[in-house]
């Protein structure tokens, strides 16, 4: 278990940033969620606090044993993950047209897809660390890809395109760190992107007659997902639905100006013009009420947070630890880019929360599990000198 000697290795800067981020989350939630349940303005702050407290316990647990132990459980974790994702189809409850939840109590449930991200990171790190130096050929890419594809497809089926893409991004990030041939990785990436682009183009564009057969080609996407892509290109195309969300989010952030409108004084937030303002669009609340100063401070904290994670990877004892760490870094970076970018109107609308800040239990627990793991890896870095 933990020894006093090991504890001395704790990254206090990371701890400080974490405390600031979690405290910030509660502060932001206290204004962002105050008009959701009018009978108890602090209802969601309390629940989020509970998620954090339990999440911290999970993190401590995750940090307490030698992470090498996880390698032995790798296939077990992978199996449980797949089982949970399959279970969603049988026992899941739906929210907004998608079945993502496994009910635990009457009002609370867990979102296996959130934990799937962590499970994929832990198991893929083990999978890749065994293939280090053997990832130079295209055919070497196939096995790891299929390894991630299985859970990704299950999640896509829910449907949850955002989280499925997160898994792919984690895969790419970890492959790169694991030493996959960068040129070939890029080529694959470009190829995949081009394929998706062409498919979308064929779906939407007015085609010349010789290409008519491809018109309206079916895509593995739901109508609302296509709509989100449409309004991302042109928010005014749908001013009542997703386009409306993007426009209101931009207005909220822009109207905040340098200093913001003040705590609990944002009209866009408090009068409900801003949608989902305590979950996916929480960054816009920061922008409206705390202004440029607030948003830049938050981004700065997140940047420090990520740079500390990379520092952990650099100092990791072995490649398994480094891969896990960089998987988590990929996860957080992509979440921040997509979530913040969405509120700023430079990314399409997806249901991806802002890590550590957005309200949500499963996401908080998953993130805390990941962070616990990071501390674990950091505590047990290179052999200590006496």
């Amino acid at each position: 278990m933990l020894e006093r000697r090991t504890l001395r290795n704790i990254d206090y800067i990371l701890v400080l940033v974490l405390v600031l981020l979690l405290g910030g989350s509660l502060l932001i939630l206290s204004t962002a969620s105050m008009n959701i349940d009018k009978s108890d303005p602090n209802h969601y702050v309390k629940i989020q606090g509970l998620w954090m407290a339990t999440g911290l316990i999970l993190a401590v647990v995750m940090a307490s044993f030698d992470y090498q132990y996880l390698r032995r459980l790798s296939w077990l974790i992978y199996g449980i993950n797949i089982l949970l994702l399959v279970a969603v189809f049988f026992f899941g409850t739906s929210a907004g047209g998608a079945i993502r939840w496994l009910p635990i109590t009457q009002t609370q449930g867990i979102q296996p897809s959130e934990f799937a991200k962590i499970a994929v990171i832990i198991t893929l790190a083990d999978f890749l660390s065994k293939r280090e130096g053997k990832l130079n050929r295209y055919r070497d890419f196939l096995a790891p890809f299929l390894f991630v594809l299985a859970p990704a497809l299950l999640i896509l089926k829910q449907p949850d395109l955002g989280t499925a893409i997160v898994l792919i991004v984690i895969f790419i990030g970890m492959m790169f760190v694991a030493g996959a041939n960068p040129k070939k990785l890029c080529a694959l990436l470009l190829g995949g992107g081009t394929l998706a682009g062409v498919a979308l183009y064929l779906h939407f564009a007015d085609l010349p007659s010789w290409l008519q057969f491809a018109q309206g080609l079916p895509l593995p996407l739901e109508g609302y997902q296509l709509n989100r892509l449409t309004v991302f290109v042109d928010p005014t195309a749908d001013t009542s639905g997703d386009g409306y969300h993007i426009i209101q989010s931009i207005w909220a952030i822009g109207s905040g100006g340098l200093w913001g409108k003040g705590y609990r004084l944002g009209t866009q937030t408090q009068l409900n013009f801003l949608p989902e303002h305590y979950t996916d669009f929480i960054f816009a609340v920061v922008g409206e009420e705390f202004g440029f100063v607030g948003t830049i401070t938050l981004l700065f904290l997140l940047f420090i947070f990520l740079s500390r994670i990379i520092r952990i990877a650099a100092n990791a004892k072995d490649s398994y630890g480094a891969l896990v760490t960089m998987g988590v870094a990929s996860l957080f970076t992509f979440h921040i880019l997509v979530n913040v970018g969405m509120t700023l109107g430079i990314m399409p609308v997806t249901g991806i929360p802002l890590p550590l800040i957005s309200y949500g239990g499963s996401s908080m627990w998953a993130n805390m599990l990941a962070i616990g793991l990071l501390f674990n890896i950091h505590l047990r870095r290179q052999r200590l000198m006496f």
């Binding site: 030493g179 109207s255 905040g256 013009f273 948003t295 960089m326």
Partner: protein, 694 residues
């Protein structure tokens, strides 16, 4: 890990860090763009999201009479309203609406509608107004009598009816049952044309006001003239709304300023007496002429020009012109020949008949073609040659008053006497009659503070020429042009010289014919004739004046020759403090050129009319207090040979008392025959009321 291996690994981490850096730079740059560079734009957009402005309607100013009696006010009309915000507070707003439907059933316009249907109707109404939820929606409105019971019910069940209230909205009410309706006017929604018209006014621009679509505006009478002051100033309320347009906060940015109180020069009691008396006279006339329905009367203060009463019949009750107007009402008020909205005292022009004879008298005296004492024998032969006699009027009923001087001429209303005098005046100074008429306010616009006054006609040779020449000239030119055009075409196609010659001759003949026709027209219709002189001298012919002008004319005779601008609005008062904001002062438009001596002679002549031997001597027989004078008129409506030849309007003008006269009267009763026997009674009633005689 090996050292070398770690080196490669760390390099990959640097690449990774680079990607993260780029991500954060992009996000930061975008934040700078939205929150710094374009902050103002988005601040305005967000502001527009939540802000709605609601107009606060000011209460329109009251109108009171000279004694302070309330004539027009704004009374509350009650409106059943639903406030969405409050309604939302209840657990199930549909249940509230259902309960409301039950309570409202006895008051619902459609008596047979079931509670369920009323419920559906109200829900549909809420749905239709969903984007105006920030303000209460009116569901039903009515008079206090209709709505007060409902208000009590709503108050009683307030607990189960959140958001439901019965509120008052001001509605124009003409308190004295339409007394002086045409003077007061009425208020309705502004038309496209009127928006331009009102906004073009200098006072409106000076006050910084703007008339907008949907505004109510005075359409006639003082409601129109003084609309600017009566309407008050709109207030503005800012309402903060949420994304469902529900009101969150209300702030009054500018409170509505109530309109000013307008005090008229009209004496409501006097007005009422005259209205009743005129109605009585019209009723009397109707026994003989069932189609008779019109009449008018004016009383003005001779030393100020204040209009103390102004009556026009048929009566107009402005209360009838509020809200939806039935076809029947529209016909009666606007379309029929005897339209009630037509203010005959102001806009109606009438031949003055014998009431014009004072002008003839003054013109004769001023041009010295007669002295007051000179007598003329009252026989048709006095008019001159047989040809002249044929052009003149005989005495009424071919009676004779024998030797007639000026006083007797006025007293007996001798047509022969005034035709003789008039002929002399027109021969000595052709324009004098018109000039004097204008000096006394006849045939010119008075500048009264009421919209729509008529100018009337004070004729003269000059006037006749100016008025009719263009018409006949145009006719001549058109005919000549037509001839030229016709022959030009024919000449072009003429086969030989001979035919052309023939056409030329024909053309010359036609032109000659047109020219001679024109000369005939000039002689008949443009040149001044003796019969014109005769007609004008006794107030017939082209003479046309409004009752207001006739009253002014009498006032100017008896006040020593000062022609005042008539006015109906005395002052504007602040509705709260009662302070005078604006006051109309008496304004002398001109002083007449007639000498005071001549005015005194004519005034004396007018008093002879109401004294023993005068045409209206009997009228004031039972009122010994009366001193003053008058003049009767029995004005032929049509010219000889028309159907209206034997129809006469009863005209009467008068003043009182004789020494230091106070008021002047002018009245007309359609088909009233002898003026003294119709309008005269109205004058008598007016004087009795004004001076308090029993």
């Amino acid at each position: 890990m090996e050292e070398k291996e770690r080196g490669i690994f760390v390099r990959r981490l640097w690449y990774f860090s680079f990607v993260i850096g780029v991500v954060f730079l992009i996000l930061g740059a975008r934040l700078w763009w939205l929150q710094i560079a374009r902050a103002a734009v988005y601040a305005a957009k967000a502001e527009g999201n939540v802000t709605r402005f609601v107009e606060l309607t000011p209460t329109r100013g009251d109108i009171i009479d000279a004694n302070g009696t309330l004539m027009v006010t704004s009374i509350p009309q009650f409106s059943l309203t639903l406030d969405w915000l409050d309604l939302q507070q209840s657990k199930d707003y549909k249940e509230v609406v259902y309960k409301l439907a039950g309570h409202v059933k006895p008051f619902w316009p459609n008596v047979n509608e079931s509670v369920d249907l009323i419920y559906e109707d109200i829900l549909a109404f809420i749905q239709n107004n969903q984007w105006e939820r920030y303000r209460p929606v009116s569901i039903l409105s009515g008079t206090p009598a209709e709505m007060l019971p409902l208000r009590a019910i709503v108050a009683e069940h307030q607990n189960e009816l959140p958001g439901v209230s019965v509120e008052a909205v001001p509605l124009r009410s003409y308190a004295l049952d339409g007394l002086a309706g045409q003077v007061l006017g009425y208020v309705r929604e502004i038309s496209e044309q009127e928006i331009e018209q009102f906004n073009g006014k200098e006072e409106v621009r000076a006050e910084g006001l703007k008339y907008l679509q949907g505004d109510l505006v005075g359409k006639m009478g003082v409601e129109k003239t003084y609309d600017l002051y009566l309407r008050g100033q709109k207030g503005v309320q800012q309402i903060e709304v949420d994304n469902n347009a529900r009101p969150i906060r209300k702030t009054t940015i500018q409170a509505a300023q109530p309109g000013k109180t307008l005090q008229l020069t009209i004496d409501a009691n006097l007005q009422a007496v005259i209205e009743a008396s005129l109605d009585e006279q019209i009723k009397k006339v109707r026994e003989t002429y069932p189609e008779a329905s019109t009449g008018a009367a004016v009383v003005i203060e001779v030393n100020t020009g204040k209009i103390l009463a102004m009556v026009s019949r048929p009566a107009m009750n402005p209360n009838d012109l509020i809200g939806i107007i039935s076809e029947e009402t529209a016909y009666q008020y606007f379309q029929v020949k005897s339209a009630a909205t037509f203010n005959r005292a102001l806009t109606g022009t009438y031949p003055p008949g014998s009431t014009y004879k004072m002008i003839t008298a003054m013109a004769g005296l001023q041009s010295k073609v007669i002295t007051p004492e000179e007598t003329i024998y009252d026989a048709i032969s006095s008019l001159g040659s047989l040809a002249a006699q044929q052009q003149g009027f005989a005495e009424w009923g071919n009676q004779t008053f024998e030797s007639v001087n000026l006083y007797k001429g006025l007293a007996m209303s001798s047509n022969i006497y005034f035709q003789v005098v008039g002929r002399r005046v027109f021969e000595a100074a052709p324009e004098l009659m018109k000039q004097l008429s204008n000096e006394f306010g006849l045939g010119i616009l008075s500048g009264v503070d009421l919209p729509g006054e008529a100018k009337g006609i004070a004729p003269s040779a000059e006037w006749k020429k100016e008025n009719y020449t263009p018409m006949y000239q145009q006719l001549r030119e058109e005919q000549l042009e037509e001839i030229e055009a016709r022959y030009a075409a024919q000449l072009e196609q003429a086969p030989d010289e001979q035919t052309a010659q023939k056409l030329e001759t024909q053309r010359a003949n036609e032109i000659k014919r047109v020219e001679s026709e024109y000369q005939q027209n000039v002689a008949d219709n443009i040149d001044w004739h003796l019969y014109d002189s005769f007609n004008v001298s006794v107030g017939q012919g082209y003479n046309l004046y409004t009752p207001l002008q006739l009253a002014q004319y009498v006032a100017t005779i008896v006040n020593g020759g000062r022609h005042y601008r008539p006015y109906v609005a005395d002052k504007l008062l602040d509705p709260v403090s009662g302070e005078v904001v604006l006051r109309n002062e008496p304004q002398i438009l001109n002083t007449v050129s007639v000498s005071p001596d001549i005015l005194a002679i004519v005034k004396k002549g007018m008093s002879e009319v109401t004294s023993v031997g005068g045409t209206a001597a009997w009228l004031f027989g039972d009122v010994p207090q009366f001193s003053g004078g008058g003049k009767t008129g029995t004005a032929q409506i049509g010219s000889k040979g028309t159907i209206t030849e034997n129809l006469f309007n009863g005209m009467f003008v008068a003043f009182a008392p004789y020494d230091n006269p106070q008021i002047a009267f002018a009245g007309v009763v359609e088909y009233g025959g002898h003026g003294g026997e119709s309008s005269g009674y109205v004058a008598k009633a007016a004087f009795k009321e004004y001076f308090g005689w029993k």
